[in-house]
Symmetry: C2
Subunit: 409 residues, 2 copies
Amino acid sequence: MSISVMKFGGTSVGSVERLKRVADRIISKKNAGEQVIVVVSAMGKTTDQLVSMANEITSQPSKREMDMLLSTGEQVTISLLSMVLQERGHKSISLTGWQAGIQTEAIHGTARIENIKTPVILRYLNQGHIVIVAGFQGVANGNITTLGRGGSDTSAVALASAFNASVCEIYTDVTGVFTVDPRFVNKARKLKEINYDEMLELAYLGAGVLHPRAVECAKNNDITLVVRSSFENEEGTVIKEEVSLEKERAVRGLAFEKDVTRVTLLGLPNNLVSLSQVFDLLAAHHINIDVIVQNVLDEENVSLSFTIINTSIEETLNVLENNKESLEYQDLKIESQLAKVSIVGSGMVSNPGVAASMFHQLAENSIKVKMVSTSEIKVSTIIDEKDLLKALDVLHAGFKLSDEVSKVY
Amino acid sequence: MSISVMKFGGTSVGSVERLKRVADRIISKKNAGEQVIVVVSAMGKTTDQLVSMANEITSQPSKREMDMLLSTGEQVTISLLSMVLQERGHKSISLTGWQAGIQTEAIHGTARIENIKTPVILRYLNQGHIVIVAGFQGVANGNITTLGRGGSDTSAVALASAFNASVCEIYTDVTGVFTVDPRFVNKARKLKEINYDEMLELAYLGAGVLHPRAVECAKNNDITLVVRSSFENEEGTVIKEEVSLEKERAVRGLAFEKDVTRVTLLGLPNNLVSLSQVFDLLAAHHINIDVIVQNVLDEENVSLSFTIINTSIEETLNVLENNKESLEYQDLKIESQLAKVSIVGSGMVSNPGVAASMFHQLAENSIKVKMVSTSEIKVSTIIDEKDLLKALDVLHAGFKLSDEVSKVY
């Protein structure tokens, strides 16, 4: 018997009624002869409600206590879903992260999975149970940890890997991966297939349909992912290493992020260690950095800009200001209400005109590019958040992303 | 340094605002030089909300999954309370049942605590932390268990015993233990002291202020309990072995229960094993029985009546009907909407007229007694639930429970 992993996100399990529909899908899979591991998120707005309770108390809750608090969300879902399945006459068992053997780094809020101890789940699978695991959470040294944003996707992929699952299906509130988030651009088109690297870059597409960590984990372990709707029976998007379709397209889709803040350190000493000092320090505080740009001002000084998400502003400023002397920078500037827009496609590497075309389209529409960063399959620009929708429309049309492209063999 | 255990019930922690008031009390205790272990229940109506979600799914949820579901309630409270204390500058740590080392029987819904592994809590106490433990829950073979009604009180007492605490304070929404639940009888009076046995019998007094299991655990381990209000600074009621006050009073207070159902088995074979067969069977299904009365009908047959709480009706009927042949009874009758009223007092044993006086008072007020059961310090009667309030008023006045009695040395 092969093992299937099915992951259902917060909207898919947002009410008892929806849990019953989720149960239909699980039971079909089980009846098709699969052993089934189900991973679920917290129901609907539960996490938001818990966060707002914590915020009534403090703006900076301890991360350990936040993990303790937030992990209850998935625990409620697993128990209720298990009841639904049992009521329908199926054997099922719910397991929290620690019960499922999901061991993580000893970090709170953004822990990575280190190891999955398989005996407990294996025993239940072999007894014929549908195993329902709380996503987003694990355990480290007896403390409950959480995996941070997109954590449940990562839980699902890690379980698929640990149990050699034939497939890892991510059920969500969209029908697949789109050329761009369809909530923002009308003409967005659903992709049939996409490779891991493209998906990694597009990860925030389509209502944040899949977290990059989950994609990376799938890539590293060669797990075929399917992103599909838990509400409609449409085919989803398959994510795997080799993609046969749409080969000649240079740009596969657009990715974007809002709530971006740029931090600039002026007058940093122009030496070999100043950069690593800054980012070592931020890493030690688990502050995620995105785009980094460094300019030389003169022989002694450089300026360094990088982007963070808005929610990290307070902590970032604290850390940088408390270490002004050791970092030896002269001034610190901050600019919020920015957005990041990226074009993504593995065809880009053999097509040097793509970045130029992007800048051209933006300039023609009076959208100012504030930072640029490139990779082999992506060009990212930082722009004002107010220009975001216009930029998406312009680029989606400019790169003809609405058009289906005939297969190329 | 001595260790104090403080337990706060659901109403006391019903909102973030209330958690802040609870924190005041905890901080005072800590500042007085005590090491503090705090036990909390789920906030306000959380448990009810969780139960009603389960009931949307099934009328008979698996007990394991119910434990999984309900245990999230306390987990939310401990994390939020810990945040409040940390925000006030105190070191604190929240621990679930399994993290706190609370090991129980492998039974769901009504597990008893078997053992508390102390190293984790001890380590945190010695590091100067206020330790906040989720009440009502434990762990057995890696599964989350719950202790059932009054479980958080039991958690508190068990922790007080395991850590040799100097005192175990139960903070609740009443100011102490009363002669009768003050919500039902105006003239109820607060007791200064009461001994374990009386408290055991009165356990349901005063809004179910303390669960009998907790009292029993305190008695067995000689833990002095204090029941007091978390909202007012009044002195509470001390519960301990030797009580010096009010010695000459025969009746200390009244206890009662609503939602009582009487089950009667007619035509049971009159042999040595029939009774034990019935109660073995019910015990195997963890159905709690209260008052038991057996009558001989004739040489071959006996009738057996016992009371259960209303929520056990369905399961009790299932069990009894499925085993009608092996139990060999002829008919089964059931009567609901009954109540139990008891008079309690350790002076009763030397005062044989007390029971007679109780029956006399009830009869004079046309209250029909349907079943009777007695112990050394208690006389219980089963009456129609509609007569309950009248019975309480009559007995509270009849036994002069509103009057303070002068000390007797």
